[in-house]
Subunit: 331 residues, 2 copies
């Protein structure tokens, strides 16, 4: 009865003994095979099989200072818009042997600093943020930590480090311009209460040139909140011609409510969404919306982080992926 604890897991030490080589040779055989003779590699492989060895990346990372993880901060996991980004990020990282640590920030800025601390304490090799970091202390802390950071889905004059996104101000402005070009003057906004949507609203208003009826719903917005939003907007003005919505889910709700009230789209009411969700093209009527390459954002963010991890200097640390209005039947 020497030890009292769990069944000691097999370590590289055991593999080395089994293979009749030194610890470091076993290590190299697995991680740097070109430094070791083929015969040795084969014996180490066999020993791994025999012992059922699974490396401990925590131990390796401690010495090499690379955890082979990337953290992703999202405001909420329920935001459908980010799903393609998360997916692309996961896939690109996985292909490079990296794993994703998912953290939910909530829309509460106070939590930002605390969460960031627990994230940094895992020593991720990179951090991807959906949106911008708001709290200045967080931004400063992250800069000092020296961890590569990519802010996504948004651009700023002064990113913490790198950024892949687009201008929400321009999106709002573009939708307003589109509405004006169609001759709609009685326009309105249904928007979630997140920061990016608020910036789009700003852009919209500045191009329209005056304030418009607005309903704000809690993020993440949904079909249900879209229905309520239309009801409220119609109370403010029964003769609205077109509504700019901050998400396709919201727009879908507006369209459902419109149909339920006997309003036809686009004849009685034109609707524009945001995000080009998978259902947008296939609704009835199909939804005009703002298309953003969410998958591309995740993919580029991964590439930027991975490049930094390899010590490369990134030529273009701020990438504008742009957007485009996809005109469909709802307008």
């Amino acid at each position: 009865m020497t030890d009292s604890t769990a069944p000691k897991s097999v370590t590289l030490h055991d593999v080395a003994r089994e293979a009749g080589v030194s610890l470091i040779t076993a290590s190299r055989a697995l991680s740097k095979p070109n430094l070791v003779s083929d015969a040795t590699i084969e014996r180490v492989r066999a020993a791994v099989e025999a012992t059922g060895y699974i490396p401990n990346l925590l131990a390796g990372g401690l010495k090499s200072r690379r955890s082979m993880t990337v953290a992703l901060l999202v405001p909420s996991i329920s935001v459908a818009q980010f799903v393609p980004t998360i997916k692309a990020l996961t896939e690109a990282l996985d292909a490079a042997g990296y794993q994703l640590i998912l953290a939910q920030m909530g829309y509460d800025h106070a939590r930002e600093a605390a969460l960031l601390n627990t994230i940094i304490s895992r020593r991720p090799d990179g951090i991807v943020v959906a949106g911008l970091l708001r709290s200045p202390t967080s931004r400063e802390q992250l800069r000092r930590a020296g961890i590569p950071v990519v802010e996504t889905w948004e651009l700023s004059d002064r990113p913490v480090d790198m950024a892949v996104g687009f201008s929400h101000l321009k999106v709002g402005s573009a939708v307003a311009g589109y509405f004006l070009s169609r001759g709609w003057r009685r326009v309105a906004i249904a928007t979630a209460d997140d920061h990016r949507a608020a910036v789009r609203r700003e852009g919209f208003l500045s191009t329209i040139g005056h304030d418009v009826p607005t309903v704000v719903v809690p993020a993440p917005s949904s079909l249900a909140s879209g229905r309520r939003a239309l009801a409220q907007l119609l109370e403010q003005d029964r003769r609205i011609e077109a509504i700019c919505c901050s998400s396709d889910q919201l727009a879908q709700g507006v369209l459902v409510e419109a149909a339920a009230r006997g309003l036809r789209s686009p004849e009685d009411l034109a609707i524009c969404g945001f995000g080009d969700a998978d259902f947008a093209a296939h609704m009835e009527p199909s939804l005009t919306t703002v298309q953003v390459d969410g998958h591309g954002i995740g993919d580029r963010a991964a590439r930027l982080i991975l490049a930094r991890c390899r010590g490369e200097t990134v030529p273009e640390p701020v990438i504008d992926v742009g957007f485009r209005i996809v005109e469909r039947a709802s307008t």
Copy 2:
């Protein structure tokens, strides 16, 4: 020019020196405050502030054998059904100081073993699987690793370790029973090609008592695939009375296509979905569906893992959360 590398990050050693205490006292002041005098704690806190210290959990975990992480394996991040589960899991873990490692398995079983290896190499304190692990080698490997495992969204006679889910066979059977009770005999199925949906189909057929027209679409299913599915089903039988769909997204597509073809629901065509997505209650017509407590699944899974981490024995390692049919306007 003593050191050539990066700006050495501050360690607990630095904090201890700054506070004028030993290394271990500083460690305890931060992680086990009740073993240390208040005065000392205060000095250590001040030293942490002064130095900007952020702990290194990788190092701590190496010694304590607790990584404070839990891995989640999902077939695909795009499966909307799992979102509430992921959310609940993240929140419960976060509250306990644990972080989630997200891994995407794909629907390819060959990848399962390889991915599991990279997951285990991070030494998570627990693993949550959306669905069951299919590959027997993976199951065996996981058992030997001695890591707490919770399989979710499904139950089996022989779980790897723990499980939180429900019987998909019973779901299919219940929907069939409901259809029969309404007198519908010309029924059909629109289903994604994932395993759980296939089991529901089995249950449906066994209760109906004979084969029925079926369209299988690739997972994850969508509104678009629902539209196509209805088109194909109507080619097989123009007089279908009711369709059982494997997701609410699919059901929504079927309803859109039905409306586009001038078919009214439920008069001409009754539809049942699965999952009770947030939009199901608010569509027009509102969607009859099978409600499952996805949030509860994530929450319970987290509790099971955390209990195991605390060394508690779990009284009920297999939890059936059940389901219920929510009857709405589409039937």
